[in-house]
């Protein structure tokens, strides 16, 4: 049984305008002077409540910076919510930043192993799949050379082949439908469809609203970190499209950034976070 339950979840990042904290900054803080490089709060998610169970195919649409990818990462357990509770039941497979996290000195075969073990495979289960992964990537002899010699397209091919070789219960996808060259894209699309058919619960983030209507049976429209609409894909997509013709409201990029200083203690994650993976 796969299940996602988010109850009034908020996620606030405290970010400094300059990455570096200088010695001067430390000293002025000691002297209780106002910081010149204060932390600003970025409200990536604001009060998101979501409940999904077996059979749901959810598509999330929205502008850049609306909080779509952050929501996925929070569902995957990468970011803990700063407020509210998150409960995800079922084996989660997340397809985002898929070309990140390769060990560049290791060859293709080794990277298949690392990535597969990261997703919870064991040498025994991987043994049965590794040839299939290699064939799907079509990288042939390139698998024997270190991945630092790969082109970015080859990396995506490899990443996609590994990531989609598992049978997840909860599938989280962020914009990976456009992987590789044309021929590979067609293959990738078919593989995705197979996966979506076998996964019990799927959440897809994409800018291709047509695929939301095509694949999903439920859609969320996010804006400034909040869910503004949740319903059947055709209605949500229509509303989203309509908003684009009213640029004044829609063109605003980003979740809520407020310039107010943040005290560290405001950012403690909810202790109730429970992930049953």
């Amino acid at each position: 049984m796969a299940k996602i339950e988010l109850d009034d979840v908020s996620l606030t990042f405290a970010i400094r305008q300059q990455r570096k904290v200088t010695l001067k900054e430390y000293l002025t803080r000691m002297l209780f002077l106002p910081s010149r490089n204060p932390k600003v709060a970025v409200h990536a998610l604001k009060g998101v409540t979501l409940s999904a169970a077996d059979g749901d195919r959810i598509g999330i649409v929205g502008h850049n910076g609306a909080g779509k990818s952050t929501l996925l990462k929070m569902l995957a357990g990468v970011y803990p919510p700063t407020r509210g509770t998150r409960r995800v039941t079922g084996r989660v497979c997340s397809l985002f930043d898929i070309s990140l996290g390769f060990e560049h000195e290791a060859n293709g075969w080794e990277n298949i192993k690392y990535r597969a073990y990261l997703m919870g495979e064991t040498p025994a289960t991987l043994q049965r799949k590794i040839q299939g992964i290699a064939e799907f990537s079509e990288l042939g002899d390139f698998l024997n050379i270190p991945v630092r010699y790969y082109s970015s397209g080859m990396l995506v091919r490899l990443a996609f082949s590994i990531s989609t070789a598992v049978n997840p219960e909860v599938l989280l996808i962020d914009e990976v439908l456009s992987a590789g060259d044309m021929a590979f894209q067609i293959k990738a699309r078919n593989r995705m469809k197979e996966m979506m058919a076998t996964a019990r619960l799927m959440v897809l983030v994409t800018h291709e609203v047509n695929s939301v209507e095509e694949i999903c049976n439920r859609a969320l429209w996010m804006q400034h970190g909040s869910v503004v609409m949740d319903g059947p894909p055709d209605r949500v997509v229509a509303a989203y499209r309509a908003s684009m013709s009213a640029p004044a409201e829609a063109a605003h990029v980003g979740g809520g950034i407020d310039g107010s200083r943040v005290a560290d203690e405001d950012l403690h994650p909810a202790d109730e976070m429970r992930a049953v993976a």
């Binding site: 970011y79 930043d97 000195e105 990261l118 994650p269």
Partner: protein, 264 residues
């Protein structure tokens, strides 16, 4: 914490594969390869012996001082490297942290498993060379006395690496400060200066130096043929230190694992 340890075990194939890769890449394109792990303690000792042997060896023969130096250096290097490399355990694995909610204990474990394997190689080399230098089989016969220390040291070093990895994520200057402090401690801890040649104040302070406790536990069975068994007090000290540090590391991981991603 138990579920954390269980989860580290579940993902053992992942971190073990990375440890193997780290060992391979460390000596990538090197002609001697892992031979450097064998040679390193020998060459380091030879250099220190040539430089300081006369001055610091006191009345010892070159052979005796060499045995003292080797047996100290291998432990010291393990502890220092675990801390120094451990500082980067989280930042180095950021790509994995941002992808998958793995238990955070895995990342310092990757570091310490790597440094630990090098330590085991150096320790083996040390035992053999000390046998040759002392012209006696005593170090080899008493090597088993070191085994419980090795287990304790491993937990001790993991705890150090975990604490420093989190500290470095919050305060990026930690690593530089650690390197400086460890350079100072190198001279205070009896790694190359024999305790009897140290000033009284430093000798007294070393009774509370955790690095010294472990160093004595490894050194005594290897170089003191007359009295190869460390005192019970020393064992209790080492076990106590390890337990305290392990508890501290576990609470650090437990308290910060849901927050540290915002610092990376």
């Amino acid at each position: 914490m138990l579920s954390h340890i269980q989860s580290i075990w579940t993902f053992r194939h992942f971190w073990m594969a990375l440890v193997k890769m780290d060992l391979r890449t460390k000596y990538r394109r090197s002609v001697l390869g892992v031979g450097w792990s064998v040679l390193n303690p020998i060459l380091m000792s030879a250099v220190l012996m040539l430089g300081f042997g006369r001055v610091l060896g006191g009345g010892d023969t070159i052979r005796e001082y060499g045995a003292f130096l080797l047996s100290g250096l291998c432990v010291w290097e393990f502890m220092r490297n675990s801390m120094s490399i451990g500082c980067n355990a989280l930042t180095q694995n950021e790509a994995y942290i941002r992808q998958s909610p793995l238990p955070y204990g895995i990342y310092p474990l990757r570091t310490v498993a790597g440094t630990g394997i090098h330590f085991l190689i150096s320790l083996t080399v040390t035992v053999v060379i000390v046998c040759v230098l002392k012209d006696s089989a005593s170090p080899l016969l008493h090597a088993w006395v070191v085994l419980p220390t090795v287990a304790l040291l491993f937990v001790f070093c993991w705890s150090l690496a975990a604490i420093f990895a989190f500290a470095n994520a919050y305060f990026h200057d930690t690593q530089h400060l650690t390197d400086v402090v460890m350079s100072l401690l190198f001279f205070l801890t009896p790694v190359m200066i024999k305790p009897e040649n140290q000033p009284e104040a430093i000798r007294a302070a070393n009774a509370y130096n955790p690095f010294n406790v472990f160093m004595q536990l490894v050194r005594q069975p290897l170089i003191s043929a007359d009295d190869p068994f460390p005192s019970g007090e020393l064992w209790v000290q080492a076990a106590g230190l390890t337990a305290i540090l392990f508890a501290l590391a576990c609470s650090t991981v437990g308290a910060l694992q849901k927050k540290v991603i915002f610092q990376l």
